[in-house]
Symmetry: C2
Subunit: 347 residues, 2 copies
DNA sequence: TTGTCCAGCGAAAACGTTTGCGTGTTGAAA
DNA sequence: TTTCAACACGCAAACGTTTTCGCTGGACAA
């Protein structure tokens, strides 16, 4: 087990100075061809590679991006990571991930841990708890220290930084319009609490679509699901609420803000003897594995997670590599368009 | 925008030496209480945090773990990452992820990139291409340089390192036995090519279970799916093969080595008018989202991804923090037991 | 012989830490 | 008054790089 070789060791072996070795490896014309050859041969033999940490210290940049997301076992977030990793890697950056687990404290601690030199910039999506508490000091402090942040999906206006978001409102609107156009009269929305902007915006899109068809939104058709029911363990509870919704109204269309709500709604509908899409049509937000492989397969609003990741990484790296522009405090908000992917749950 | 403050700057401001500041912050008794107070107050005011990179260089350890996996948009792998991150964080480590994308070259390049000082050790699962080529030099080189590796799930015997695997053989056997005990006579297995050990081992478990019931494995019931059909795009092709399988045989049980094969098989069965689980029972390996929310929900063999990640991280960190034991070249292979989760696709 | 020039190389600083050891100042004991 | 701890602090090296600058010696011209 031989440790990695350093410039110093090569220098000692070849009886030259460290600087000579360094220059020789860079093919500097300051060094004679003879010496260059000798050094390069030796370095190759011992498989010399410059130490990244030393380089980071010297250059004051780590070529590493920090990602902070609420959850990784999640189709959307892992797609985003994939996108980030793709362009980061292409541009010579590594990616280090922190999981906030939807907790404010973990978000703060993790960010502090990474902000002390380990990374050059952040790409993050805010945790639910943070959104609830509306305490964003850790973001501002990070930015104030000169570390750029790019937020995606779950963002807040208060923070001055680049953002990549999905057009939740229009995505939802598009979906509900589709339902309306194919004849639905009584469309329910299954959504989340309002403090998540997605819940709010998608509901707004739903309302706008209805209004375009001169339908007054019926509050009893707007089902707001409590947050904890999103976990797989509480599907029973969720089913109960949906059952209630079905029995209180005669619904012929459902717009769900996520896949789980959608497939569960389909399950409940089927139990009630309703055929999808004949008796009732269903559209879901977020295009994931469930949508593709459920029966019937779900028509969804795709939010293009990977594309969001790619864009976020591009924004961040561009900012990192144009330090001179940094004082131009002009931040961009990129909106990724949604796409309606039609499958078998709609006519 | 004020940059992060350093010891040097504090020293200059307070008109003491750098070492005094460093010691004062560590509450060294070498430094007078007065000075300590002064320094600590100043440091707190300016929110001083030691620079991680400098510490890494000095200590020759980064407190960072490198993960290299073939794919991140995958329930199992993201569960593993979650497990790794959990214990890594608890023990003061960060996690940096590299994606091989099932490509040998990317695996090699990424590993080289990370091995040059960026991380203290690796946790990885081997890419398909690497398994196919059977070229493991990059693993051995990394290990030889004194960087420990822990492999999980997709491992090879040739490499001397700690490993965390799932008991594929017995997991499969357990599943098939369950089918046999509930009355299945004609059980098909839908599996992958043999070069993936999972394909091989799970098939072996299938065979062993049959033999326990004195049934001779029928080759026409063993369907090996080509690799590329695993992608979501090629489901049609997959369905065709399954259709063929169904029409050539009268099957009353299916064991699939992954969720996609299982739900697709159910879909095909339903199309042929078969009722799950009455006419045909189905069990899948790998417990993911699809299994829970398909209709009927799938009985699966859970491989406990998060637990695997946790165990892998523990193994690695233990090894990192017991350098003295490092010369004791004794490597551990931890087997995570599978669990049969019974849902509605079996009787 | 002296001076000039340049090729070829090395010394040193810098990035931000930590830490062993040296040193100057105090106060008290002899 | 001298001596000597104890105390409080600073110096310097080290981690592995890169890069600027300066030095040396030899070739060549005058």
């Amino acid at each position: 087990m031989k440790r990695k070789i350093t410039l110093k060791q090569i220098a000692r072996e070849l009886d030259v100075s460290i600087s000579t070795v360094s220059k020789a490896l860079k093919n500097s014309h300051e060094i004679s061809q003879d010496t260059r050859d000798k050094v390069q041969a030796f370095a190759k033999l011992y498989n010399y590679r410059p130490n990244n940490i030393a380089l980071s210290l010297k250059n004051r940049k780590t070529k590493t991006i920090g990602i902070m997301i609420p959850e990784i076992v999640h189709h959307f977030f892992s797609k985003v990571i994939k996108g980030i990793e793709l362009v980061a890697n292409k541009r010579g950056y590594n990616v280090i991930v922190g999981l906030s687990n939807e907790s404010f404290d973990k978000e703060v601690i993790n960010m502090e841990m990474l902000a002390n030199g380990s990374i050059d910039g952040f790409i993050l999506s805010i945790s639910k708890e943070t959104l609830l508490q509306q305490d964003y000091h850790h973001f501002n402090e990070t930015i104030n220290q000169g570390m750029p942040i790019v937020m995606f999906d779950r963002v807040v206006d208060e923070i001055q930084c680049d953002k990549v978001i999905v057009d939740d409102l229009n995505g939802a609107k598009k979906a509900v319009l589709k339902l309306l156009k194919t004849g639905c009269k009584q469309i329910a929305i299954i959504t989340t609490n309002d403090y998540l902007s997605i819940g709010k915006l998608r509901t707004e899109g739903y309302v706008q679509a209805l209004e375009e068809f001169n339908i007054k939104p019926n509050p009893s058709l707007i089902l707001k699901i409590e947050d904890k029911l999103l976990s797989d363990e509480n599907v029973d509870e969720l089913e109960k609420e949906l059952m209630q919704l079905f029995s209180d109204n005669s619904i012929d269309g459902i717009f769900a803000v996520n896949e789980l709500y959608a497939v569960t709604a389909m399950k409940v509908a089927r139990r009630l003897g309703l055929i999808v899409p004949n008796d009732i049509q269903v559209i879901s937000f977020s295009d994931g594995v469930l949508s593709k492989h459920s029966t019937p397969s779900l028509t969804t609003v795709s939010q293009h997670g990977q594309e969001m990741g790619e864009k976020a990484a591009e924004l961040l790296i561009n900012r990192l590599e144009n330090e001179e522009d940094r004082d131009v405090e002009h931040y961009e908000t990129v909106v990724i368009e949604t796409e309606l992917i039609e499958r078998d749950s709609t006519k």
